[in-house]
Symmetry: C2
Subunit: 278 residues, 2 copies
């Protein structure tokens, strides 16, 4: 049901009756003039604790044209505008594995859990950032190895229980050029970093981890034709996150990420908001 | 770019080589047999604090057919399946104001901030639940009034700084029947609860609040033809959340909600994951 009369009324009222459609700039000026100070300290103990330090957004803006593994990129269109209709809204069409997004177990596992079946507690993970940017800059097929994990622990301590173990390869620098981000060779095989199967098997055998994440298009590296990491990790009833952002700016330990995945009905995964708080 | 050969290889390998495609049931059984215990206690201080108590999901599953104000409901389709293609994924098409979703200032305000412009700190709000379910059960046009806010504060203490003030009307009981959720009369005018303009003006004048939220389709009540609450609240550079879930199960104070909105490019708002932790 559409209510064009109603919407027209709003638009008309905004135009003719001086309804206060404050721009951000005018609002901030007005707030300043009125002596309004925006305290950033919420009042509950939990919020105080989180607010006490800082936050880091690990999510890329979800854009039309964001590179997608299958090549079918998201699209958007303007449906209505403030000027014409009294309010503004867009429509979106995309595959679930677009933008910064989750891979749920059911993405590769028949009968595996789908997005709405993951619990809120699973979406809160202490973060360990595994930096392989040095080797990735020399070898686009580089993978996280058990040695990388052991090296991390020697320097930063044991990977926390229920952690999200996130690979930082520096690959997001290529995101402005989708072809460079996918980095396909003449045969159409991609070349970008990912987790190696040995690292995943090491984590499953030796640590209690909730999620792995990468700053590239796939949990497996781009050249993988067998998707061993997807099959093994999702097959263990755990989830993954692809196309993470800003991992190079995040300290390697001591933060907790909220993985705000929209609970897409029967979702194999899907776009999410990931923010690390500390 | 599509890589059908690759995907076929995965599917083939899963079928013929015994790749461990564990179902959830078999995984849990295996984990139990191996003596694996999934500790729910993350190791950082922040996570310990959050985990110490509990969480409540304030998000409805994002479904095809979820009732939308304009009537244009989300749709989904299966693109590939594990059985046929080696992995499973869906495609989605929807308006930004579908499911549990944010209204950004720019939804009603020309030049107002859009979703990617909201800061991570704005997405973390201590929650105050304003229960108007009694009057809403008798009057579908009921609104949150200043008296409701004052009554809340007498009972639960002052609304916290930077709070999310969420209206609980009990309306989500009607969600299984989209027509009952919209509750349109013979003229097509909706009838469901929302915020009253006086309550919003009271909050702006007397408290420092980040967001308002409702368990119905609109920040204004359904019969509103002028959208005063949208215009005033979003016009103050603040955001709203519509179609919140489970507010009747959440305690009225002492929780902090993470508003995990996907950063939709130039988004007027859009689907988000909202979870309250305490």
């Amino acid at each position: 049901m559409c209510l064009p009369g109603t919407i027209e009324k709003v638009s008309e009222r905004a135009r003719t009756e001086g309804v206060p459609l404050l721009s951000r700039r005018s609002f901030l000026t007005a707030a300043g003039a009125a002596g309004v100070t925006a305290s950033l300290m919420p009042s509950t103990a939990v919020a105080r604790r989180i607010r006490a330090k800082r936050s880091m957004d690990l999510t890329h803006t979800f854009t039309a044209g964001f590179p997608v593994y299958t090549g079918n990129v998201p699209t958007r269109k303007t449906l209505v505008t403030v000027e014409e209709n009294g309010f503004y809204a867009q429509g979106w069409t995309f595959e679930e594995h677009s933008g910064t997004h989750m891979d749920a177990p059911g993405h590769f596992v028949s009968g595996g859990r789908l997005v709405p079946e993951l619990s809120p507690n699973e979406l809160l993970v202490p973060v360990a950032v595994i930096d392989i940017s040095n080797k990735a800059s020399e070898d686009p097929d580089a993978v996280v190895t058990p040695d990388d994990l052991v090296r991390y622990e020697k320097r930063h301590g044991r990977i926390p229980k229920n952690a999200g173990v996130f690979m930082y390869s520096g690959w997001e620098e290529r995101l402005p050029d989708p072809e460079a981000f996918k980095n396909a060779d003449a045969n159409g095989t991609y070349h970008f970093p990912g987790f190696g199967i040995e690292a995943v098997e090491w984590l499953l055998a030796h640590r209690s981890v909730r999620a792995i994440g990468v700053d590239t298009l796939s949990l497996d590296n781009g050249e993988s034709a067998t998707f061993d990491v997807h099959l093994t990790w999702l097959g263990s009833d755990r989830y993954g996150i692809e196309n993470l952002a800003n991992l190079g700016k995040l300290r390697p330990k001591g933060t907790t990420a909220f993985v705000g995945v929209v609970p897409w009905e029967e979702g194999s995964g899907g776009p999410c908001r990931v923010i690390a708080y500390s």
